[in-house]
């Protein structure tokens, strides 16, 4: 069983402060962490490995050089091998470009590792971007079936049984390998790294795959030029004034009251 886990190094959003003048986020000096949802994905892979020690877990991250720290953290926790995808031409990629690059990265890693991945595990979303698009897009690029918002996952005879989070009810869904599964927060915490693994991870070599590792990649589909979307600004929304609850007993009478208020304020 071979599992690829996609991880992203993100700023610890609990440490981010707001610039009171510009109303934007102050990212300088904020510590970086493994994206929380990716940690759940890694934990899911680790639990499969607990039951089947022959499971091979590889983590991959696309990011700047210092994302090696996040990858080493993953090695300390449960991963057997890590790769960093990093190159100038990848910079500025949106989710579509990122997922395309990750598709290429996965094929390359399969070649280097001499294996085929039975599954790709991703976090549901990155806590800095919050798009939740990369995992599903990657599935589409690969042509694999996908399940999103997974809470737990078990491997059984080459297929996976996934508990998917629902609004009111959770669902148990079976999915054939190879597949893509994205994970949300489960009912348990991810494991801590052990000291032994931490020390080994510190010494581990993390291969870096830059543009030269992908000679056939379509350059028009990566980086800024390959990104149909762009983040123009990140800001904190203005706090709304205190709201008002209108409850006149029925929907009709409440609506009449609302209309009157809006009319008085010349909104309508």
């Amino acid at each position: 069983m071979n599992i690829l886990v996609c991880v992203k190094q993100v700023p610890d959003t609990t440490e981010i402060k707001i610039d009171p003048v510009k109303n934007t986020l102050i990212r300088d000096g904020v510590p970086a962490i493994v994206n929380t949802f990716d940690a759940y994905a890694l934990e899911a892979a680790a639990r499969i490995k607990d039951k089947n020690p022959n499971t091979h877990i590889v983590v991959v991250s696309m990011g700047p050089q210092n994302a090696i720290n996040a990858l080493k953290e993953c090695l300390a926790i449960a991963a057997d091998k890590a790769y960093l995808v990093s190159g100038r031409k990848f910079g500025g990629s949106d989710t579509l470009a990122t997922s395309y690059i990750l598709e290429n990265a996965m094929r390359k890693i399969e070649e280097l590792e001499g294996c085929k991945f039975d599954a790709v595990f991703c976090g549901k979303q990155a806590i800095d971007g919050d798009t939740a698009q990369v995992g599903p897009e990657l599935a589409e690029h690969l042509g694999y079936p996908q399940i999103t918002c997974a809470l737990e996952c078990e491997e059984k005879d080459g297929r996976f049984e996934v508990i998917k989070e629902g609004e009111e009810l959770n669902m148990l869904i079976g999915i054939q390998a190879p597949c893509v599964i994205t994970f949300t927060k489960p009912g348990f915490d991810p494991r801590y790294p052990s000291i032994k693994r931490k020390m080994a991870a510190n010494r581990a070599e993390v291969p870096i795959l830059d543009e030269s590792a992908f000679p056939d990649i379509d350059l028009t589909r990566i980086g800024l030029s390959g990104s149909p979307t762009a983040v123009k600004k990140t800001f904190v929304p203005q706090q709304m004034q205190d709201g008002m609850i209108i409850d006149e007993g029925t929907a009709r009478t409440s609506t009449v009251k609302l209309a009157q208020i809006l009319s008085d304020k010349k909104v309508i």
């Binding site: 494991r191 801590y192 790294p193 052990s194 032994k196 931490k198 020390m199 510190n202």
Partner: protein, 380 residues
Amino acid sequence: MDFRLNEDQLALQKMVREFTDKEVRPIAAHMDETGEFDEELWKKMAELGLFGILAPEEYGGSGLDHVSLCVVMEEIVRGSGNMYNWLVTSNGPNTGAILLYGTEEQKKKYVPKTASGEFRCAYAITEPDNGSDTRSMKTIAVREGDHFVINGTKTFITMATLADRILTTCKYVENGEDKGYVTLIVDRDCPGLIIGKDEHKMGLRGTSLNTVFYENCIVPAENVLGEVGKGMEPATACLSEVRVSCGAFAVGLAQEAIDLATAYAKEREQFGKKISQFQNTQFVLAECQTKVDAARLMTWRAASELDLGNGDRLYGSMAKYYSGEICNDVVRKCLQVFGGYGYCTEYPIERIYRDAKIAEIFDGTAEIQKVIISKAIGIR
């Protein structure tokens, strides 16, 4: 001479610090109030490998050095002083003495399970009438065929309530004659082993401190550690290591006290300004930090000597004596920064003040350390 921690030690420090903040701090007050043992926390610490820091990898440990143990100890006791007891009962003589004096069967039987946290351990030397004067102990072991029979009482035994085994040092008597000492690995299910009451203590209330009774306690002969008649050797073999851990405990508590007092001083206002802006507060905390840094370096130095294979007790004794003394001084001064709030249990400094006192007493009192130091420097 580079006094900095190496990369591995820095990574370890960060790892344990984050773990302490997330898992230990939130339960520290409850543990102190109730004395309840947190099984979940124990399991998490076991997963990290905190009970096998020094044990070699071949026996399931992490195979790290004594400086690394100090780093771990200092960080984790900042969350709760009780963590000292959790770590030292596993990483101390119950691993070290067995590795030094145990047979291969004993090493394989006991060390991996201690390192993994599956076994909880205690070690018993002190008696009601024999604290510092350990050699006058009255608990006796007599050999009868394929087993030993122990009779006596040990006191102030940390974590005996939960221990799966208790490393016990006794007087060895043969044919009615005193023949030295013997150290035995007393498994919990040995007949005649009775765990007595848990003392109600000033500090470290989250871990039990028991009297242990041996009433014709039968221990298999294969559980002798080292040589019969030379049982003081395994008993004292790890004292230097334990004293270095004591030093790290004291440094950790003191550093936590300083950080708490500094944060409080920056918030508290009196006479129209933050109390951190008064020179008295600044000078007090500056003096405290200087002392703690000195104690930390002495502890690291003692640990480093152990790593270099220097079993000389001098450095461990100096580190323990000095760290224990400044810890109590520093914590007292830091509590004073809090004023009346420092006297209230709502503020962690109150618990740290109660926990700190033991640093001058346990695992060899400050006075015993001074005996060792004065002998080492030739003052008789």
